[in-house]
């Protein structure tokens, strides 16, 4: 009988990513109804030091897949490792972060195990014997409760949707599982990471510039983002103009962000844009057109020229932070 929960983690620069703690914490909470154990899976090369991080969030047991082939976090190697860890833990539920890597793993794992998958979920609970997950559909215009009937139930969790809470696990017993990656077919030619840039989907604050920026000089929004320790986003119009890279795009066909604070500057508030930022906690709109639709979808609005207002805001925040 499969039982308990396997929380699949992800790491960057020899530390578990925030999403990993969110996944373990979600597992901890779910285990209150489904029963345990809560096992955390850590995969990579030279990962034993990360086991204690997983234990701090309440994993009862930790499975390590330590293999040179997992060093680069390539999807096909990770899928093989995760499939073997699932076989070893035999869980009723597999939780994983819905990151770009996690989505690949979840989708292939579901097909490999003929198991139900709910992708990009913002809530999950046990309802009797079945798992019920809540997931946005239609670009966030709808929230759906879906039931997963089959085993293991695979639930991929949207970054920042669940809280990471430090908790005490039983003992955090650590076990290494020897994995074989013989089936790997992808080879890495090059990896390019944008250094020093906060990932939009992980940022606490996002400051977005739209067509109202009028050109590729985003200095004023960059300065505000920096003062707030946040990331810079862009509307699709700003991306289409070539002012910003596609990876900065927020919206239904861009990234879905859920920061504590979202500041939209020179963005009109098209439905496709709103779809990508509607679950932000607090939304501020700055637009010179008092009729701009964004004003009806924000918490605070300022009517005026962003080139006056944004620097004034930055100055005020810098003053505050000393």
């Amino acid at each position: 009988m499969p039982q308990g929960i396997l929380a699949v983690t992800e790491q960057a620069d020899s530390a578990l990513k925030n999403i990993s703690f969110e996944v373990i914490s979600t597992g901890k909470k779910l285990a209150e109804t489904t029963g345990g154990p809560l096992t955390a899976a850590i995969l990579g090369a030279g990962v034993d030091a990360m086991a204690s991080q997983a234990a701090e969030y309440g994993a009862d047991r930790i499975l390590l897949a330590d293999h040179e082939g997992l060093k680069d976090g390539l999807a096909d190697a990770c899928i093989q490792a995760v499939a073997q860890l699932v076989a070893s833990a035999d869980p009723a539920v597999v939780l994983i972060g819905a990151t770009s890597l996690g989505k690949d793993i979840a989708a292939r794992l579901s097909a490999r195990l003929n198991a139900p998958l709910a992708m990009d979920c913002v809530a999950v609970r046990a309802d009797g014997d079945r798992i019920v997950a809540t997931r946005p559909m239609y670009g966030g215009k709808v929230l759906a409760d879906v039931s997963l009937n089959g085993s293991p139930a695979i639930v991929a969790i949207r970054p920042r949707a669940m809280e990471a809470v430090a908790a005490q696990g039983a003992a955090g017993e650590v076990e290494t599982v020897a994995v074989s990656l013989d089936g790997s077919t992808l080879s890495l030619v090059e990896k390019h990471m944008e250094t020093g840039k906060i990932e939009l989907t992980e940022a606490d604050v996002v400051v977005t510039g739209g067509r109202g920026m009028g050109g590729d000089d985003f200095a004023v929004v960059e300065a505000l983002a920096k003062a707030l320790g946040g990331a810079v986003g862009a509307s699709r119009s700003a991306v289409d103009e070539g002012w910003r890279p596609v990876s900065d795009q927020v919206g239904q066909t861009g990234k879905v962000v859920a920061p504590n604070l979202y500041i939209a500057c020179g963005v009109s508030g098209a439905i496709q844009h709103l779809a990508g930022m509607a679950s932000s906690r607090v939304v501020v709109a700055i637009n010179k057109d008092p009729e701009a639709p964004i004003f009806s979808k924000c918490d605070f609005g300022i009517v005026g020229d962003l080139f006056d207002l944004v620097p004034a805001l930055t100055a005020e925040i810098e003053k505050l932070k000393g």
Binding site: A12, A75, S100, L101, A106, A107, R108, S110, A111, R112, N114, P116, L117, M119, D120, M137, Y138, G140, V142, L143, A144, D145, V146, S147, N149, L188, V189, E190, K191, H192, M193, E194, K197, E199, V205, V239, V246, T253, G254, L261, I271, Q272, S279, V282, V284, P290, F295, S296, K297, C298, D299, F300, G301, I302, V303, A312, L313, E316, I317, L320
Partner: protein, 256 residues
């Protein structure tokens, strides 16, 4: 190169979505249906590869009769053949769709399969990699650049915080990401020609694939909480407004 493209018809992204009275689906009246934007990129990329290497482009869609419109758009853009698998009303979850598509794709000898990285209706991010898994071939998701040569494909894909350049052997499956290309519009002669092309329609029951009962079922749909109109911060000068906003963000909203 024999190329297959997977495409889905979805509500246009500007659609206002309403929920049906029983709460388990969306209301379909008045919705403008279009080809999933990521699948338009898939068609475009397939056509560009065909232009370089020769071969054919076959587009596949699993869906009701209406999806023939999206298939015709693909034909008008330049695809050679279109296949529609008709579920005849059978409910299918993402994995079931992948099983049916993989079953049909296995009947061909495709070197490359191109899909979208997600369909903007169910946002499952699932069908592409699942099809690859069921066909035991490699996949590369969220591709923004590709090169095919000598039985291999080299792709640049986006990951969180950067990009990877990956290489694998054909046959393979890739999924598209914004930035890969700008899909062409169908030309008028293309549209005329596409009207006459037949669509190879296959009832699900005759495909030989039994996807089984869906393992994922929608229990209930609801609209997320909507923001009401925001409070407009007043003030004489930019500086005054900035002070008032920062105060509100700090003392009321407590976000800074």
């Amino acid at each position: 190169m024999e190329i297959a493209v997977l495409l889905k018809q979805v509500p246009a992204t500007e659609s206002m979505i309403e929920i049906s009275d029983d709460g388990s689906a969306i209301k379909t009246e008045g919705i403008n249906w279009v080809m999933n934007p990521y699948d338009e990129m898939a068609v475009e990329e397939a056509l560009q590869i065909r232009a370089d290497t020769g071969g054919t482009v076959t587009v596949f869609s699993l869906g009701p009769e209406k999806v023939a419109e999206a298939l015709r758009t693909a034909l008008a853009m330049g695809a050679d053949t279109a296949v529609r698998i008709d579920p005849k009303g059978k409910p299918l979850d993402g994995l079931a769709v992948a099983k049916v598509l993989a079953g049909e794709l296995k009947k061909g000898a495709f070197d490359l399969i191109v899909g979208g990285h997600r369909a903007v209706d169910d946002d499952n991010f699932q069908v592409g990699p699942a099809v690859a898994e069921l066909m035991s071939i490699p996949h590369i998701s969220m591709v923004i650049k590709q090169d095919v040569a000598d039985g291999r494909i080299r792709c640049t894909r986006t990951i969180d915080g950067g990009t990877l350049v990956l290489e694998t052997t054909l046959p393979a499956l890739i999924t598209t990401q914004r930035g890969l290309n700008e899909p062409r519009y169908a030309s008028l002669p293309g549209i005329m020609k596409a009207k006459k092309k037949p669509i190879d329609t296959r009832p699900l029951s005759e495909t030989g694939t039994d996807p089984g009962a869906p393992m994922v079922q929608i229990l209930a749909m609801r609209l997320p909480p909507q923001r009401k109109g925001g409070r407009i911060i007043e003030g004489d000068r930019a500086g005054d407004k900035a002070v008032a906003l920062v105060k509100a963000l700090r003392e009321e909203a407590k976000v800074i």
